[in-house]
């Protein structure tokens, strides 16, 4: 049972991480800066000095 729970959590983490990487790759996901934009997509609105990855 314990192994199943851990397996689900790890698989979920892998899935989310892969999705996140693909989204960043495609420019859909924000790099995390406060402007909520898509840095990787080349449309970030501010070269903020402190960010925030």
């Amino acid at each position: 049972m314990e192994n199943i729970i851990v397996g689900i959590i790890v698989a979920g983490a892998v899935g989310f991480m892969v999705k996140r990487f693909v989204d960043i790759w495609k420019g859909k996901k924000s790099c995390g800066c406060s402007n909520g934009c898509s840095c990787a997509g080349g449309s970030c609105s501010s070269p903020d000095p402190f960010l925030k990855k």
Partner: protein, 734 residues
């Protein structure tokens, strides 16, 4: 009424401040030019209607010399906004109106927001608003964007003037150019050459200004007319060069300034103080940007910032470390031994706790940087470093990209790479965006803070300053290397406007700091959490096979043989002080078996095998397999180096009574010492940028080749630097 209203103006004139005031937004405002590279949008609701507000990048002109100018002009031409609010710095009226004149020449609907009226008043400048409005034939509203004064009057004026038709302003550019403009207009009108987008006279002006974007667009639409226009331009250009020894762009700028000057001379502006009086900012700059004093002050500022950060963050960081240690111990006691407990304690709490423990340090660092930025000091750093940067083949504009990336520890390479857009020379831009990842971003900060706290606790600020200087020196040397080999080319001149010194507002400092803390915590709760779970799994599975597990069980049985079950249980559950000496020896022997088993299980795990494989190269730099795994994980996000070390050393920890912080664990761990720690610091400074930065480099350069180059080159460089340091250090200390 629903309308789109654009905020446009010179850099650092207060557009983003006004944007935030109108929309209630929290966009980043910086006291240096060029904070906004792309447009931002928000909504403003007033009694007169609902306005879509667009904040454009600051620009001095509408000629397509730089990306900001292209972005601003394209939006104005393509989107045709209902109104442009032209933010004009009242204390620099003449220069700011140069842009206003260009809006008027395009025939665009403009309303001037005369900002910083308070600053103008302090400088002894009085402006006759009515007269200025009358002479320019456009509405002018005084405002102080910083505290929202005049914004309601401004929006009322905007609502009132939307929809009113305007004729483009026609300025005389002298006999030669006026004749050429008339001739070109006569060619443009019948051919309907770009007339869908631009006023014919404006198109002609842009041809005379050698505006490459308009010229290229013209060639695509109608080559024949474009060639005729080219011929006129060439003729005029040659004539002016022979007779006046200048070029049309210079004459056009002179006449625009002449027009502005003539407007202001008609009683619009009055000076109560000597016009040439040296302002406070200039007086400060005489010391702060002094040739010899300036660099000394700059280093002192950095030192002061790091001292401030470490002084105030040490105690709260220790609190948080204790808190996570307590949470870890509680979880360990509450849950039965097994996979779930291991995942929660070693993977999540010890992994994420290592990163979250540094929140106070990040907060004080960001607060200090926000203060320096808001006062206008960062812009002075660009100014002072320009000369040094040029020596290494970079550009003055590169400085801001470096600072944005973490020139003062705490930035981010992604916006730093994007800030390189402001560089006009493609080669200087490429050199900049390949070297900005060497700066110490906010994600590297916890790694440095961890190692500095563990091994250089006596001189934290000094070591942090040293790390900053190493990363700058490394970046400049690499830039010089690249500019001398792969990306050779001429240097271009640098012009920058120094903003006035301003006293930061508490609200501004709070917003800047709060935003960054939220982002840091958010990242720890998402990316770092996910990677911690994955790396925990990689460090746990496949575990030991049955045979080896049985061998360890046999060792345990041998140790406790001869003891009753009750005594064995007592040894493992009672505190050390309640045990007799022989019982303590048994306990220590049992713990040693546990440690051996945990270490072997770790070494046998997927991550352990990967780390061990890399050890054949990295051992020369002083790194063991755990550090290798942490560094590989750091490619996803640099904070992962900390969380992975947290998990690795937690998994190796077998005594539940020991809940030392990660820095405490590293200090006593085998193979660790100041030499290894500094070697790891050097590696972290120079090795491959994180995944997001690599993607960003690929997008910005338009080539995966340069992104791959930055990964491979940087990692090789990092390995070389740390290996040389570690080997020399080992010889010296031997």
């Amino acid at each position: 009424m629903n309308a789109t209203v654009v905020l446009a103006g010179n850099p650092n004139s207060g557009k983003t401040t006004l944007f935030n005031e109108l929309t209630g937004g929290r966009q980043h405002v910086g006291n240096y030019p060029g904070v906004t590279v792309e447009k931002k949008q928000g909504t403003c609701k007033t009694d007169t209607g609902r306005f879509e507000i667009v904040d454009l990048p600051g620009t001095y002109s509408l000629t397509a010399y730089s990306l900001e100018e292209v972005v601003a002009r394209d939006f104005l031409v393509n989107e045709k906004p209902s109104m442009i609010i032209n933010i004009v710095d009242a204390s620099n009226l003449e220069r700011n109106l140069y842009l206003s004149v260009q809006f008027m020449e395009m025939g665009l609907p403009v309303c001037i927001a005369l900002n910083m009226m308070d600053v103008a008043k302090k400088r002894g400048i009085e402006i006759d608003i009515q007269k200025l409005s009358g002479l320019l034939s456009i509405p002018v509203v005084p405002i102080v964007a910083r505290d929202g004064k005049g914004k309601q009057a401004l929006m009322a004026s905007v609502a009132e003037n939307i929809g009113q038709s305007r004729q483009p302003l026609r300025i005389s550019y002298g006999r030669d150019l006026d004749a050429a403009l008339d001739e070109m207009e006569a060619l443009i009108r019948p051919a309907e050459f770009l007339t869908r987008s631009y006023d014919p006279r404006w198109t002609a002006l842009k041809y005379l200004e050698n505006d490459q974007q308009v010229i290229d667009r013209g060639y695509k639409q109608d080559k024949a007319t474009a060639m005729k226009l080219d011929a006129v331009v060439q003729r005029v250009r040659t004539h002016i060069a022979h007779t006046l020894d200048t070029h049309p762009e210079g004459i056009i700028a002179d006449h625009r300034y002449g027009y502005v000057h003539s407007v202001l001379k008609q009683g619009v502006i009055r000076f109560f103080q000597d016009e040439n009086r040296i302002q406070v900012s200039d007086r400060i700059d005489r010391i702060v940007t002094h040739r010899f004093m300036g660099p000394v002050i700059m280093v002192a500022m950095l030192m002061g910032l790091y001292q401030f950060t470490f002084t105030f963050s040490t105690i709260p960081v220790a609190w948080l470390e204790s808190f996570f240690g307590w949470v870890s111990a509680m979880a360990e006691q509450a849950l039965p031994e097994g996979m779930v407990r291991s995942l929660l304690v070693s993977g999540i709490i010890d992994g994420m706790g290592g990163v979250l423990g540094f929140v106070p340090l990040i907060m004080f660092m960001f607060l200090g940087i926000a203060f320096l930025e808001d006062t206008g000091y960062l812009a002075r750093m660009s100014f002072m470093l320009d000369r040094i940067f040029r020596m290494f083949g970079l550009h003055g504009s590169s400085v801001m990209a470096f600072i944005v990336s973490g020139g003062i520890a705490g930035g981010c390479a992604v916006p730093g790479v994007m800030a390189a857009r402001t560089l006009k020379s493609p080669k200087e831009r490429l050199a900049t965006l390949l070297t900005v990842p060497f700066m110490n971003c906010g994600a590297k900060l916890p790694v440095f803070a961890l190692l500095v706290a563990a091994f250089f606790a006596e001189s934290r600020a000094e070591v942090m300053l040293l790390i900053t200087l190493i990363s700058w020196t490394g970046a400049l040397l690499v830039a010089w290397f690249l500019r001398s080999t792969l990306i050779r080319g001429e240097s271009t001149p640098f012009v920058m406007e120094l903003p006035p010194y301003r006293l930061p507002t508490l609200k501004g400092l709070f917003i800047h700091t709060f935003e960054r803390i939220i982002q840091y915590v958010k990242k720890a709760g998402t990316v770092i959490l996910l990677i911690s779970i994955i790396l925990w799994a990689m460090m746990t599975f496949p575990g030991l096979d049955e045979t080896r597990t049985k061998e360890f069980e046999d060792r345990r049985s041998t140790i406790v043989s001869g003891l009753s079950q009750e005594t064995a249980d007592e040894i493992m559950t009672q505190k050390d002080e309640k045990l007799t000496k022989p019982m303590l020896t048994v306990k220590e022997n049992l713990l040693q078996v546990d440690r051996d088993q945990a270490r072997e299980a770790l070494e046998n795990s997927v991550a352990g095998r990967m780390g061990a494989a890399l050890e054949s190269i990295t051992r020369f730099a002083g790194f063991d397999w755990r550090t290798n795994i942490a560094l590989v994980g750091g490619f996803a996000a640099k904070e992962v180096v900390v969380s992975t070390l947290g998990t690795a050393y937690s998994l190796g920890e077998v005594d539940p009574e020991e809940t030392a912080s990660l820095s405490g664990r590293l200090k006593t761990a085998e193979g660790w010492g100041p030499l290894t720690a500094f070697s790891l610091i050097l590696f972290t400074i120079f090795y491959s940028p994180c995944f997001v930065t690599v993607v960003c480099i690929a997008k910005e350069t338009g080539s995966w080749k340069w992104a791959a180059f930055s990964m491979v080159f940087n990692t090789c460089l990092a390995l070389l630097v740390s290996t040389v340091f570690y080997q020399i250090g080992s010889l010296v200390l031997a």
